[in-house]
């Protein structure tokens, strides 16, 4: 079976990896460079803590279980242009290349109402198998000495982890290529070739590419790509900004975020929303997020958004006030109105599959998504129920069916 994966971000890479290892002939196309768009503009979150019980949490738990396995398997060095370099390297080097860090997350509430909501949220998660431990004041202070003492509740999520997303994606790509996948960058898809009601090929800047199955893994551009193929899905860009400080002595030890964050993720607001997400990287920088805006693909960065992010981060870590921000960057998340990823076959156009719509969670959810999609394409039963992610649900499939 020949599968064409469109989009060489981390989700496309994870799908290509699973498909190639399952014996498919895989061609991976990207209009730009591998891992160069949404994948390399995020913080690399692998989060359990922000998922409420339901299908997305199940996908997050599956992915969280898969990540260490993926990193522990013998593989190749990470690459990004299609040449498998070197021989198998030890899992430690793979872990290093991905900057895998089981740092754990701490969610902090700063109001009485926030504390009540956070405790209820954590209790429901525990019932769904999440490790979520409320921290005493002393434990919290020991865990995050620079965090404000002005908080009302804090829950520790030891399963939360982080990768350097471009490094992790190139690792998955390297595995895919080592398993026989072919990567073509600078190769944009321009339209479909149909035959007997099926999608049988895609036209690209580099000629027509035929296949038995086509996976739309183009992240925030999945709406446009699916429309160009004749089966539009409702995936929209949701803009986010991140501020980066100069390298600091260790100050933030976990992924620390404001309990408001869950509400912002779940919101449908198009207007800007900000909530504090603070964490450090291996380079010593502190990353400060987050914002959510629906502004199409406009990439201008309003100073007011930066200011709001800074103000909320300082509420959690007032001691960072004198620390310089040296960089700001932004990117686009693939937003779906019902906040669930889109994984599976498109009934409207046999041959077309989707793997997108993870909003800000695509790095973490990539490996589980790849597993589910490869199982579905191969006619095997996925490890979790894929039905909630169906592209054919009313919130996603646009137009006539």
């Amino acid at each position: 079976m020949r599968v064409v994966v469109i989009g060489a971000g981390i989700v496309g890479a994870a799908c290509a990896r699973e498909l190639a290892r399952a014996g498919c002939e895989v061609v991976l196309l990207d209009r730009g460079g591998a891992a160069a768009a949404t994948t390399s503009h995020g913080e690399g979150n692998i989060l359990i803590s922000d998922k409420e019980p339901g299908p997305e949490l199940a996908l997050a738990q599956l992915s969280r279980a898969l990540w260490p396995q993926v990193l522990a398997e013998p593989g190749t060095r990470p690459i990004a242009t299609g040449r498998a370099v070197g021989t198998a390297v030890a899992d430690r080097a793979r872990t290093e290349a991905a900057e895998w860090d089981t740092k754990g997350g701490i969610v902090v509430a700063t109001t009485a109402a926030g504390a009540t909501a956070l405790r209820a949220f954590a209790a429901a998660q525990r019932a769904a198998g999440v490790t979520a431990t409320e921290l005493s004041d002393d434990a919290l202070h020991a865990a995050e000495p620079h965090l404000t003492r002005d908080h009302t509740a804090a829950v520790h999520y030891p399963q939360d982890a982080q990768v350097q997303p471009a490094g992790a994606a190139t690792l998955l790509l390297g595995d895919a290529v080592a398993a026989g996948a072919q990567l073509r960058t600078g190769c944009a898809v321009t339209g479909p070739v149909r035959s007997g009601g099926r999608l049988t090929a895609v036209r690209t800047e580099g000629g027509t590419v035929a296949g038995d199955a086509f996976v739309n893994a183009t992240g925030p551009w999945a709406g446009a790509v699916s429309a160009s193929l004749g089966a539009p899905i409702d995936v929209r860009p949701r803009r986010g900004e991140v501020l980066v400080t100069t390298p600091q002595p260790p100050t933030v030890f976990h992924k620390v975020y404001d309990a408001d964050y869950v509400g912002a993720v779940a919101s449908d607001e198009a207007a800007v929303q900000t909530s504090a997400v603070v964490e450090s990287t291996r380079g010593g920088t502190v990353l400060l997020g987050s914002s959510r805006r629906q502004v199409g693909f406009a990439d201008a960065m309003p100073v007011a958004v930066w200011s709001a992010i800074a103000a909320k981060a300082l509420r959690l870590f007032p001691g960072l006030s004198g620390v310089p921000v040296m960089r700001a960057y932004g990117g686009f998340r693939p937003f779906v109105p019902d906040h669930l990823p889109v994984i599976g076959a498109d009934e409207r156009l046999p041959g077309l599959w989707h793997a997108t719509g993870h909003e800000g969670a695509g790095i973490g959810l990539s490996v589980g998504t790849g597993r589910i999609l490869a199982n579905l394409i191969g006619g095997r039963t996925p490890p979790i129920d894929p039905v909630p992610f169906s592209p054919n649900r009313s919130a996603v499939a646009i137009g006539e069916r």
Partner: protein, 120 residues
Amino acid sequence: MTPRLIRADQDVLGRNDRPVTITVDGEPVTGVAGQSIAGVLLAAGRTAWRYGRTGAGRGVFCGIGVCFDCLVTVDGVPDVRACRRRARDGDTVTTQTRVPSDVDTVTTQARVPSDVDGER
């Protein structure tokens, strides 16, 4: 000894120096009022005052605020470009390091144990 201050009595600019005294890691260092912190340090014969992750010393490189090699902490405020900041009497300058063993004074043991999967 190099680098060095041009002597005022030999200076074609006809200087009328007044001293400025700052402390650098607790030691008093005197320069000429009007000099930048980098100027004071260089005139005192110091060529390196910041240490990178590998332990390599750095001082002035570009001299005009572009390279960020000469960063110091002034009165507790980190990452001040010494070549751009005018030295003021009483400035408390602390040198900066990114050498991991010097940096990890708080240590990562602050972390809540999180080896849930035992993969590390």
